[in-house]
Amino acid sequence: MGIVRALLVVLGLIFLAYVGTGILGLESIFGVVFPYTAFVIFVVGFIYKVIKWGRSPVPYRIPTTAGQHYSSLWFKQNKIDNPSTGWGVALRMFFEVFTFRSLFRNTKAEFLKGRLYIGSSKWLWFGAIAFHYSFLIIFLRHMRFFTPETPWLISGIESIDSFLQIHILGSPLFYITNLVIVGALLYLLGRRVFDAKLRYISLPSDYFPLFLILGIVITGILMRYFFKVDVTKVKELTLSLTFLKPTVPEGIGSLFYIHFFLISVLFAYFPFSKLMHMAGVFLSPTRNLANNNRMKRHVNPWEYPVKHRHYEEYEDEFRDKMKKAGIPVEKE
């Protein structure tokens, strides 16, 4: 549900940025005010949300254990999937965050003549890894626009990303991540459209970020390879934002402002959306706790005493029966 509406919203945003900068001449709004506002919303909203989560305590230690536990017996512990120490947890979290280990475990179930078959299924993992890593690389590459001299790390990433040394239509070097991210986004979108189960569970807020990021990526690609914008002027603007002395050069063109506006929307939208899974994964108590429950006590800050039936009450009710049956009692 909501795929059309989500697409319309993104198209509306593009139209807004086009009208705003191409017709009304509001470059300073789209180039300065919106980006700054979005950035502030992002930072404040992100921190606020994490603090809010952090204020909910972790009353019980309930990791999902995915391998042999640690015990005093001789069986070999699976230290990554069932960690019993802080280091083990760090390792588990590392693989979870950087390799999407849980998703890598994914399987697919299918019926065939009344029987159930379950097989390995890595496509979702592959699509997710492709999307997230290409996004990360593209994000880092863009840091050149916000630093006066491009750091060596960023240049390094750029040269690896463009190592194919291909030029399209006489344009600058082709970045592999440009192709990968479009492919990954189309895959992630496609499975929501063509898989009946996913279509059924998808909300507008699932389609919206996909369309939004797709919009950002496409405008970016258009700027680099097809309608070349004046990169020097763009950098003049972005650098001025970094140094808090915003100047808006003439003649950058609406395509850039559409790109920039969609990014602003993404930043402002982020803290209020499911995209917060980026922070949430670190806080997830089924993953970030050691399975050492019987060794080390976990304290619940709000634990309170409860009423229960004491042995005395129990014996009072059953004393005669117990005595008759020869079961020892406290009070004869």
Binding site: K49, F100, A109, Y200, R294, H298, H308, P328
Partner: protein
């Protein structure tokens, strides 16, 4: 209600088909065989639950308190503030769908609301409406909906179609745990007195008599004596089980189901034989006569109230440590909650096996050891002598219990034991065992008779894997270490793979166990002839 034939039952499942209407527009339809009977007022009142009254899920009027909406919304707020799990799990799901086909209830029913993601969305939509700006502003478009009576009924219907097995949480890239969401959901239901008869009855029983079945102390003693009679018939050895014995070294607590029905009673017999053989200084307790905890299926507070008796009894009897029996959710509660609830346990000693001297350091804080850990250690030290051939009629496979698997991680111990006492052991396919094990379909208080259809559907993925090893290797015995399994798996096998029976691991141990002074055994614990002794 008669069930259709197995092939007919499963032919109705189509995982690729979804209803023409969007899920928010579909009310829950209360199909017979899919919902439990409502709780009885007297059982709720006995443990001081709110809104105690008789009620039925199919009646239009659920006899709710006037301000039920406020109670639920306040209940959500309190739980958001108290549980980081719940708070985060309400916020960060991206609906990637990785969990969808991991749920046995979805695989067995094809009902999209049984996909873990959608089960959680049922509650998440309410959370968004009252607690997030997106939900407040955009409403339905933001995935939010008002808490109406039909919504409440839907929440109830689907939170009692989840066995809290956590298989979905294994595959979730953020570790979102539907069991945790179901636990919170059921707590909310219990604020309104919306419990089931099958859960609230055992809870009231357990509060009064110490065990779910309501076994009173004298009955427990006579039951144990009956079991000892059978043991004497089989082995020629008379055992006198210690009950409420002060100063014993170890308190033994097991699920009471093992004193009640086959095949659980064979586990209880096996335990009696094992402890007798090694001369263990231990005691049963009539007061702490239940290791399981149906309170856990109502609210965490009730769970704590029911299990307070275990350490209290350990203290009264002045034992050194506690040994726990074969049970699933019992071990989730014992392992993941006990120390937080009842610790620090400074009145007991760090567990040491009195037979082998092994220190169970991994249990040094809670002082509770699992019978499979204890037995595996005995075997490793060569303390026990076995005649494996006595189990030769059994071609065995092992069903990992959800809670012991994904809430603790004990996989090798029971396998080591089985391989030590049986000659024929085969594993089910990898995707259905260990951490990926499928639920039996009857956990978390869902093994009521009136939901047999749901149980047979939910247990289907497990049965499907058993059928596979039955056809491939001739497997005819499904071993497990859980009392709910022993209640749920027999009818499940009867329905899907009638050639396969169910047993506890300790039953297999006792079959093979060569006891000092025993007569020549001709029968197993089920009083069936041993291999080669058919004529006797």
């Amino acid at each position: 209600m008669r069930l259709p034939r197995p092939e007919e039952l499963i032919s109705t499942v189509n995982l690729k088909k979804t209803p023409p209407k969007w899920w928010m527009d579909l009310k829950a339809e209360f199909k017979p065989g899919f919902y439990c009977y409502g709780a009885k007022g007297k059982n709720l009142a006995y443990v001081d639950f709110p809104n105690a009254r008789d009620w039925s899920p199919t009646e239009e009027d659920w006899k709710l308190p006037e301000d039920w909406k406020r109670i639920v919304i306040e209940g959500i707020r309190q739980r958001i503030e108290r549980f980081r799990t719940f708070h985060i799990f309400m916020d960060i799901c991206v609906r990637c769908g990785a969990c969808a086909d991991k749920c046995h209830f979805f695989l067995g029913t094809g009902d999209p609301k049984n996909m873990p993601v959608l089960r959680a969305e049922l509650l998440r939509s309410v959370y968004r409406r009252y607690f997030t700006s997106g939900g407040k502003i955009f409403g339905r478009f933001g995935g939010a909906r008002d808490l109406e009576l039909d919504v409440l009924k839907e929440l109830w219907y689907y939170f009692y179609q989840c066995t809290e097995c956590r298989r979905c949480s294994l595959f979730c890239p953020y570790g979102i745990d539907t069991a945790e969401i179901t636990i919170m959901g059921r707590e909310l239901m219990n604020l309104l007195g919306l419990n089931t008869d099958w859960i609230s009855g055992p809870v009231a029983n357990c509060y009064r008599t110490g065990n779910h079945l309501g076994i009173e102390p004298h009955t427990m003693k006579s039951t144990l004596e009956f079991l000892c009679d059978d043991i004497e018939t089989i082995t020629g050895i008379r055992i006198d089980p210690p009950i409420n014995k002060k100063g014993a070294e170890i308190l033994w607590v097991e699920p009471s189901g093992d004193l009640f029905a086959v095949p659980g009673v064979y586990v209880a017999m096996g335990t009696l034989m094992l402890f007798h053989e090694i001369g263990l200084d231990y005691t049963w307790s009539t007061y702490a006569s239940e290791g399981g905890n149906f309170g856990y299926f109502t609210s965490l507070e009730m769970a704590k109230r029911l299990h307070s008796k275990i350490y209290e009894e350990a203290k009264r009897l002045k034992v050194k440590w506690i040994l726990g029996g074969e049970c699933g959710h019992m071990w989730r509660v014992w392992h993941q909650y006990h120390d937080t609830w009842f610790g620090p346990i400074d009145f007991l000693e760090e567990p040491v096996s009195p037979i082998t001297g092994t220190k169970f350091e991994h249990a040094k804080s809670t002082k509770i050891v699992h019978i499979s850990e204890f037995t595996a250690d005995l075997i490793r030290h060569g303390v026990l002598k076995f005649d494996k051939s006595r189990n030769d009629n059994f071609i065995v496979t092992f069903h990992d219990s959800c809670n012991v698997s994904r809430g603790m991680g004990m996989f090798e111990e029971p396998r080591y034991i089985i391989k030590s006492v049986c000659n024929h052991f085969y594993e089910m396919p990898d995707e259905t065992i260990r951490e990926q094990t499928f639920c039996c379909g009857g956990g978390s208080g869902l093994n009521a008779g009136e939901i047999m259809e749901l149980r047979m559907r939910g247990g289907f993925p497990r049965a499907n894997a058993v059928r596979y090893v039955h056809e491939k290797f001739g497997v005819n015995m499904l071993a497990c270490i859980c009392a709910i399994d022993r209640a749920q798996l027999p009818p499940l096998m009867e329905y899907w793979v009638p050639q396969v029976r169910v047993c506890g691991v300790t039953e297999l141990v006792a079959n093979a166990l060569i006891m000092k002074g025993e007569k020549e055994r001709t029968m197993n614990l089920r009083m069936e002839p041993l291999p080669g002794k058919e004529g006797q």
